[in-house]
């Protein structure tokens, strides 16, 4: 019964979305205020319907209602409650429902909080948002209905893939989707602006908070995903340039560029056409990411819905959404005249350089991700593009990007004095050189990559702190009670920028040192054996059988010491999930904030994991992999700081209150009424 309510609510949401996509748009063109006013209640109703459907599916998962095929295929009555809930979005149908929930949620947020928006712009934005909603609701209802019934009703479900049963992964898809879908707002605003034929500073100001929300969520989503891959998959690494990782990384790169170009559009009324294009492309990349994951055109560990029908539908959707918006762009963009002029050396130029490098980086990742697909499509054979390609192309782009990042915030708008700025950055440059020399001297390990990465991180951190110090006026003798007051009055967006840039410096340090300095040791160990890796000694004390809620496992005990002193006890497990017939390694990680000690228990040698070794053989060899991962926690620590910076920036006064918006409001309303 509740399943049918959910299904019906979805159908209703589709109908509402069709109305919302048509009527307000026609109203905005014809100046009909009543038609435009439909957008607000429609957006709220559409969200309400999807939320009801989502709640119905959630109810089915929590109560283990095995009359729904989706629940049968992805849940089991013996599963912990958390994973019953996350089982909802760990499969194709449920995750698409989550996608639409967020899409309509963003629409409802604009309807509720967009009081300051000119009526015509708001109507157009919500209509475009509803068009995307129509596409995705149709996709769910016609190709991937989560409310399909199972008959006969089985006694129990098939369970969730064990490697997905993890708290990190419980929150990874919602964050990632919040990011992907959040960029739909920037997209809707861009299309609405093209329809109106007008982009101004106020428009850029309205777009920015939505982009920021999406960017923060995507940053956290990617970080959670790579963290999960690091501690759950047990291969010692945290990023593999897998097509699906790239699918989330490309919108992040484009979205980061968009955040920065929107600043130029807002403050200087320049780069308008480019900002619009970036908004379209960022969401297009989010959609292409979805296509890559859902259609199975690229094989990947993530591709859990390999189905050509769905792929064809999403491709059609892509053609309509991206093709349509880019056609609109081709027709309308030439009319957007640039007004703000700037010199080659200026804050604007710095941001243009930032945009060029970020877009090129996104294109690089895009080519690497799609090249195997295209080569195969034209009969060129099967190839795979891996880390060597990205190390050779992506990394060299990041070096100038970080170098410019240090300088950019100190440049003034319109025309800047580069020599003067570089002089002000002499401390940061000195710090970078000192860190490089120190890294070489101290034999931190990791070779040239670690030295370069650490020096860049030091440069960025030094330059970011220099900029903050100058802003607070510490250099001008303002030491004393005035600093706190000035710090409080500094715009939140300035603090956000400082935090985000500093966070990136921390992440860069983590990435370069962990990539260069990882030590790997693989051995077959008897109980009592010892292994020495990077100065630490692991003693293998033996294994014991343990029983979990839905698995059985062998748990190994390791005592780790350094210079004879006890450091930690580590207990990696090898878990067997009988329901799925899968064996999954549970990694043991000990961290001190500077380095991770990472132990994976592998197969018992000579026997297979599937052959379920019994306790009598407990004295045999175990394959053990030990990794020493220096500075790896900093990667996610830095990503957390970056996202926090975004959130701080989001609380900026001008985004909350939008004083200049009020000035524009009467003009916008008058134009809407008279159009």
């Amino acid at each position: 019964m509740i399943g049918e309510v959910g299904h019906f609510a979805l159908v209703l949401a589709l109908v509402v979305a069709v109305v919302q996509a048509g009527l307000p748009l026609a109203g905005a063109t014809r100046g009909n205020a009543a038609w435009m006013a439909v957008a607000r209640p429609a957006a709220l109703l559409q969200f309400g319907c999807v939320a009801l459907a989502f709640a119905a599916l959630m109810h089915a998962y929590v109560t283990s209602d095995f009359s729904l095929r989706n629940v049968v295929e992805n849940s089991h009555s013996a599963k912990p409650l958390l994973y019953k809930i996350t089982g909802l979005w760990s499969n194709h149908e449920g995750s698409m429902l989550l996608w639409v929930l967020m899409l309509t949620g963003f629409g409802a947020a604009v309807a509720l909080f967009g009081e300051n928006l000119p009526m015509a712009l708001k109507a157009r934005v919500l209509a475009v948002q509803a068009m995307i909603g129509v596409g995705f609701l149709g996709f769910i209802l016609f190709t991937s209905n989560p409310f399909a019934r199972a008959f006969p009703v089985p006694p129990d479900g098939q369970g969730l893939n064990p490697i997905l049963q993890d708290p990190g992964l419980a929150f990874h898809p919602p964050m990632l989707y919040l990011g992907y879908v959040g960029f739909s707002m920037a997209f809707s605003f861009a299309v609405a602006a093209l329809l109106e034929g007008r982009v101004d500073a106020a428009w850029a100001r309205w777009v920015r908070p939505w982009t920021l929300v999406a960017w923060c969520a995507l940053t956290l989503g990617i970080a959670l995903g790579s963290w999960w891959a690091y501690y759950e998959l047990g291969w010692g690494g945290w990023w593999a340039w897998d097509p699906v990782e790239n699918a989330s990384f490309m919108p992040w790169l484009a979205g980061t560029a968009l955040l920065h170009s929107a600043i130029v559009a807002e403050k200087r009324d320049a780069l308008k056409s480019w900002t619009i294009l970036l908004a379209l492309v960022t969401f297009a990349l989010s959609l292409i990411g979805t296509f890559l994951v859902r259609s199975g055109v690229l094989s990947s560990v993530h591709a859990f819905a390999v189905d050509p029908t769905r792929g064809a539908y999403i491709l059609g959707l892509l053609v309509v959404v991206i093709g349509g918006s880019l056609t609109l762009y081709a027709v309308r963009a030439p009319a957007l005249n640039p007004t703000g002029q700037f010199a080659p050396i200026s804050r604007e130029s710095g941001l243009v350089l930032n945009n060029l490098l970020l877009s090129t980086a996104a294109l690089t990742v895009f080519l690497g991700t799609l090249y195997p697909l295209f080569l195969d499509a034209v009969g060129g054979g099967k190839v795979s593009v891996g880390a060597p390609y990205y190390n050779a192309t992506f990394v060299p782009l990041m070096v100038p990007l970080v170098a410019v990042m240090g300088v950019g915030p100190l440049l003034s708008w319109k025309r800047a004095d580069l020599a003067g700025v570089l002089l002000r950055l002499r401390l940061a440059a000195g710090l970078a050189v000192a860190v490089a020399v120190g890294t070489l001297w101290g034999h931190v390990g990791g070779g040239g990559f670690a030295v370069l990465g650490l020096a860049l991180a030091a440069w960025l951190l030094g330059a970011t702190v220099t900029e903050l110090v100058e802003r607070l006026g510490l250099r001008r003798g303002g030491v004393g009670g005035g600093i706190l007051a000035r710090a409080r009055h500094l715009p939140r967006s300035a603090w956000g920028m400082t935090l985000a840039h500093a966070g990136l410096a921390v992440s860069i340090a983590g990435i370069s040192v962990s990539a260069g300095g990882q030590v790997e040791h693989i051995a077959a160990m008897h109980p009592g054996d010892q292994a020495e890796v990077a100065g630490y000694v692991w003693r293998f004390d033996g294994t014991e059988p343990v029983t979990g809620p839905n698995y059985t496992a062998d748990r190994a005990h390791f005592t780790v010491s350094r210079n004879g002193r006890f450091v930690a006890e580590q207990m990696p497990e090898l878990r067997r999930y009988p329901l799925q017939g899968m064996t999954v390694a549970d990694v043991a990680i000990h961290t001190n904030g500077l380095a991770d000690l990472y132990v994976v228990l592998g197969d018992k040698r000579g026997t297979s994991p599937e052959a379920a070794p019994d306790a009598a053989q407990a004295t045999s060899d175990w394959v053990v992999r030990i990794y020493y991962n220096p500075l790896v926690p900093w990667i996610w620590f830095g990503a957390g700081i970056m996202a926090f910076g975004g959130i701080v920036s989001l609380t900026d006064r001008r985004l909350r209150i939008g004083a200049p918006v009020r000035r524009r409001h009467p003009a916008g309303a008058a134009e809407a009424a008279g159009a």
Partner: protein, 176 residues
């Protein structure tokens, strides 16, 4: 000039969409085998239960289907009906290699599902599977009269795969 620049994105996207449409038709799971047209690797496997074992000397002389399976492999269950149908038709001999399995589990599994295999070799540590380039079970190979590997299918052989892929290839190999 500006107009040309603004048209570029849609042109680039049209090319991309065309490529993606082509890509939909390809199947990334059909990885080619490195052994195609190569002689079967040298191996000799002990028997499972009462059936004779399997060695490379047993392959050749006529077209033969070799299927890698395991009792712990869920998709392997899906292909047993099709394999049983092929074996019952007597078209080609169906030989099995039991991959990384306990003999008693495999015997119990075959007893409950039916045993289509004329010969079964048991590959407990998976070494022979490595020589064949198997990267997961189930996988199915066609061996020609000269004892060369001619075709590999990764994934369960369903009734449809049997009709669309396997049987036409058997016919082609028998003609050649």
């Amino acid at each position: 000039m500006r107009r040309i620049l603004t048209i570029l994105p849609i042109v680039a996207f049209a090319a991309l969409a065309g490529g993606l449409a082509l890509g939909l038709g390809t199947q990334p799971d059909r990885l080619p085998s490195a052994l195609i047209d190569q002689p079967v690797p040298v191996f000799g496997l002990p028997p499972l239960g009462a059936k004779p074992g399997l060695a490379q000397t047993d392959l050749g002389g006529r077209v033969i289907l070799v299927n890698f399976f395991a009792s712990w492999c869920a998709p392997c269950r899906l292909e047993q009906p099709a394999l049983a149908q092929l074996a019952a038709s007597g078209r080609v001999p169906v030989y099995g290699i039991d991959y990384k399995d306990k003999p008693e589990d495999a015997l119990r599994w075959l007893t409950s599902l039916g045993d289509p295999y004329g010969r079964i070799g048991i590959d407990r540590d998976g070494r022979v599977a490595i020589d064949w380039g198997v990267y997961g079970v189930p996988e199915t190979y066609l061996i020609d009269r000269a004892g060369r590997v001619r075709y590999r299918y990764a994934g369960p052989v369903t009734a449809q795969i049997l009709t669309d892929e396997i049987l036409p290839r058997i016919a082609a190999l028998e003609r050649s």
